[in-house]
Amino acid sequence: MAGASTDTAIRTSAPVRVLIYLLLILFALFYLLPLFVMSINSVKPLGEITGGNMIALPTVWTLDPWRSAWSTAQIGVEPTGLKPYFMNSILMALPAVLLSTFFGALNGYVLTKWSFRGDKILFGLLLFSCFIPFQIVLIPMARLLGLMGLAGSTPGLVLVHFVYGIGFTTLYFRNYYAAFPTELVRAAQIDGAGFFRIFWRILLPSSGPIIAVSFIWQFTNIWNDFLFGASFADLDSMPMTVALNNLVSSSTGVKEYNVHFAGAIMAAAPTLLVYIVAGRYFVRGLMAGSVKG
């Protein structure tokens, strides 16, 4: 993980090792339990949940809860299911991810290869913005979005996520480019290459891993956001997390637990998929946000 060897010098005896494996497996079961419960109960008829137990496999398998959660469950006024909100989340996340990554890359490039007086302070200002509790910006943001005519719209949410994502993406690229040999940049400069040419031809081609980190981290964060979605979206632009919460906490009618579980899995699926495919980069992003790069 940190690049160092996985070999520890500590030696353990056989009985101790059995105990270690046992504990590790127990913990794995603890982490898997909610996913297991959600999965099996999302393919059960409601009667088997209210009448049976939560960790039993279904006796009757059914995909109806999934169909209902996706296309017919009552979320807002209309029984649309979660589908339109899933699309909202995609339309919100993709542009915000691309924009924040693009600006993060340029910022990182400037801050490491074209340093100037006061750049450290600017970076500090950008960095602190990653950690503010967003409650502090909710009121003015709501006002500004209203003034700009972006209140309750997906472009408004894109703007919000883009702006509050720059800090993290800048951090990633700055740490990554700091390790990139500055001599190469200087040599290209002497050969007459300009600012953008150097970025485009020299830095960007070797930025694959950090672009992956930035994409994944931003996508996960934006997809999973609830606070901004709940504050700034209206019924038509609600992202998936807000729609799921509405579905689960709506107090009208019978509580369709199986539909809730199916919906929760749908909301989890994109980030989970990204994690399964590119978990390595996800962990790197997490660590860069805490223990430096």
Binding site: M1, A2, A4, T6, T8, A9, I10, R11, T12, L23, L24, F27, A28, Y31, L33, L35, V37, I49, T50, N53, L106, V110, F116, G124, L125, L127, S129, F131, I132, P133, F134, Q135, I136, V137, L138, I139, P140, Y164, G194, F195, W223, N224, S231, T241, L244, Y257, H260, F261, G263, A264, A267, T271, Y275, I276, F282, L286, M287, S290, V291, K292
Partner: protein, 298 residues
């Protein structure tokens, strides 16, 4: 001739300015959307804003009222309980798992992602899962009854005195794997030669950990503390999805307090004041940490 010279001059001057021009939009956005907005909210916290921002100065009145509200007192007491338990339990589980995983475990590459995947989920998903798993009507209690253990009772999520602990449980489930990853990175950075030398001197595993390894994990402890405490202060989604702040006000946190006072109770001045308190708490932890990190890196 003279024009081309001037052109070239312009070009180099542009090249000099280009980096700053490229950085400018991000800096401007941050100055407005982060620092400008912070100042605006601070200003509002000194006004009698209710449903809409107002600019009538009332001094510290909102802060005085805030700290007289039992609702706020509950929120900060809950935060203290929640953050304390969350940080301690995550650290204990994280450190334990990291140490266990560091014993040349077969299948580490299989287990580690299992411990970490909750971190990729939305708190709304986590909240939904645990809400129904802990619900006495269909969850754990119901399941135990179905197995024939009729007297089993577990209704914490519906119980005013215990509901906050269910928030701790779900939050620990989500973040302890991440804490493990921080400690594991720390453990993997420790020099084995020192350990081997101590072993030659006959040191037991216990004393290796107590005297050599744990002291070297100080930076990992610090990072874990800083990251977890700022996550705890910002906690909002999980409470909304898991308990909605209830039963009653049993699981209200400053974040949920701020939201309901600002947007549903039309007490924007008080909402702004609570947001300022939250920001100051986070800043008190983050600013020294970031400052030290940046300095160290030079």
């Amino acid at each position: 001739m003279a024009t081309t010279h001037a052109d070239a001059d312009m070009r180099t001057r542009l090249q000099d300015w280009l980096p700053k021009i490229v950085l400018a939009p991000s800096v401007a956005a941050t100055l407005i959307f982060v620092y400008g907005f912070i100042l605006f909210t601070i200003y509002l916290s000194f006004t009698d804003s209710r449903m809409l921002p107002s600019y009538d100065w009332v001094g510290l009145k909102n802060y005085e009222n805030l700290f007289k509200l039992s609702h706020w007192e509950i929120a900060i007491t809950n935060l203290a309980v929640f953050a304390g338990l969350y940080i301690v339990i995550c650290s204990v589980i994280g450190l334990t798992l990291a140490i266990l995983l560091d014993q040349k475990i077969r299948g580490e590459g299989f287990l580690r992602p299992i411990y970490l995947y909750p971190m990729a989920l939305s708190f709304i998903v986590t909240g939904t899962a645990w809400k129904w798993m802990l619900d006495p009507g269909i969850g754990l209690e119901h399941t135990m009854h179905a197995f024939g253990w009729e007297s089993f009772a577990f209704d914490w999520i519906k119980n005013r005195d215990f509901a906050i602990y269910t928030v701790v449980l779900a939050a620990v489930w989500q973040s302890s794997g991440f804490t493990m990853a921080m400690f594991l990175a720390g453990l993997r950075g420790i020099d084995n030669e020192i350990l081997k030398a101590a072993q030659m001197d006959g040191a037991s595993n216990w004393s290796l950990y107590r005297r050599i390894i744990l002291p070297q994990l100080r930076p990992a402890f610090l990072s874990a503390f800083v990251i977890l405490s700022h996550l705890a202060i910002k906690s909002y989604d999980l409470v909304i999805a898991l308990t909605g702040g209830g039963p009653g006000r049993a699981t209200e946190l400053p974040a949920t307090f701020m939201y309901s006072y600002t947007f549903s109770r039309n007490q924007m001045g008080i909402g702004a004041a609570s947001a300022v308190i939250m920001l100051m708490t986070v800043a008190a932890i983050m600013v020294p940490y970031l400052y030290a990190e940046l300095k160290e890196k030079k």
